[in-house]
Amino acid sequence: MHELALTEKMLRLVLTEAERHQAEKITKIKICLGELSGIIKDCVAYYFQLSARDTIAAGAELEFGLSTAKLFCPDCKLEFEKTPRDFNCPVCGGLSRLTGSGREWFVESIEVE
């Protein structure tokens, strides 16, 4: 449920940007969301619908680019996508390290009229 607070902040950001460009309507918002960000896409979409109702972002399409968490096996020098079960390398079974990928929560761009 922290998505409400985060969605309201996202809305404020896009409204400020749209205002700076003297836009009359925001039609699309492109968001990048990592699977380790702890943010649920559907919750953001739901809260957005409610929070944006009386703004120029009302009805805007939310386009989510989902980023997967990648791990790196130091022994095999292999980068691979995290499986839901554990952090182990699919080749040697050893423990791997997290890379930076998967924690994203940012607005890439907006489309305005």
């Binding site: 449920m1 985060l6 380790l36 952090f87 929560w105 607005v107 890439e108 761009s109 009229e113």
Partner: protein, 218 residues
């Protein structure tokens, strides 16, 4: 028309946290953000740790409702202020700076913020703390690092509480430790029991060393 923004939405939280950190520095206090699920033993940990430290301890308690923990700590002589989030699942930086108005804290105080019991949202909202501790009870299971990776990645130390219950629950220590150290290599893990006192001296010595080095850094 497409407007490029490319702005990390967690940046705003980071800016609010920086403002808090400046305030803490001005007051000369060290702040610890204590993160855990409900019932991991956060309040018991504060209660057991405070007498073992040379520094004075004060507490900000975050709970959706009630003042149970605050009343307990105040009755033990540990000054505590309650924040009720009215159902909110985490504390945010401005709530903490506001709660500070209710205290008169001496310099060198360790302020422990007992966050709302939650292993998800609390990870995304830094409060300006310089020490972040994640706590898990063995009865919660050894899979926590795999299920809640975000919270462990940002931690400075992990406390594994209720270690006295290990014989009664299926908790694989190795699996837990491997998970934690994949997320953050070298992270200290303290195995303690607030009930029996086991492991508390190692933990409190680490904490004291950390506080002293942070105070020296200013």
């Amino acid at each position: 028309m497409e407007i490029n923004i490319s702005r990390d939405l967690f940046d705003h939280e980071a800016e609010l946290a920086v403002a808090n950190r400046k305030l803490f520095q001005k007051m000369g206090i060290i702040v610890l953000n204590l993160l855990a699920g409900p019932g991991a033993g956060k309040t018991s940990m504060i209660r057991s740790t405070a007498p073992l430290l040379k520094q004075p301890v004060a507490v900000i308690e975050g709970d959706p409702a009630s003042s149970i923990d605050t009343d307990l700590l105040n009755s033990l002589g540990i000054p505590a202020v309650q924040i009720n989030t009215e159902g909110g699942c985490h504390l945010e930086a401005p709530m903490v700076s506001k709660a500070l108005d209710e205290f008169k804290l001496e310099p060198n105080t360790l302020l422990i913020i007992e966050n709302v019991g939650n292993l998800i949202c609390t990870a995304g909202f830094p409060l300006g703390e310089s020490i972040r501790v994640v706590m898990v009870g063995v009865s919660e299971g050894d899979d926590k690092p795999y299920k809640y990776p975000d919270i462990f990645q940002g931690a400075d130390a992990v406390i594994l509480n209720k270690i006295d219950l290990q014989p009664y629950v299926d908790f694989n220590r190795e699996r837990f430790q491997e998970g934690v150290r994949t997320l953050r290599p070298g992270l200290p893990i303290f195995e303690v029991s607030c009930r029996t006192g086991r492991g508390l001296s190692e933990w409190s010595q680490w904490l004291e060393r950390t506080i002293i080095s942070l105070l020296k850094e200013g």
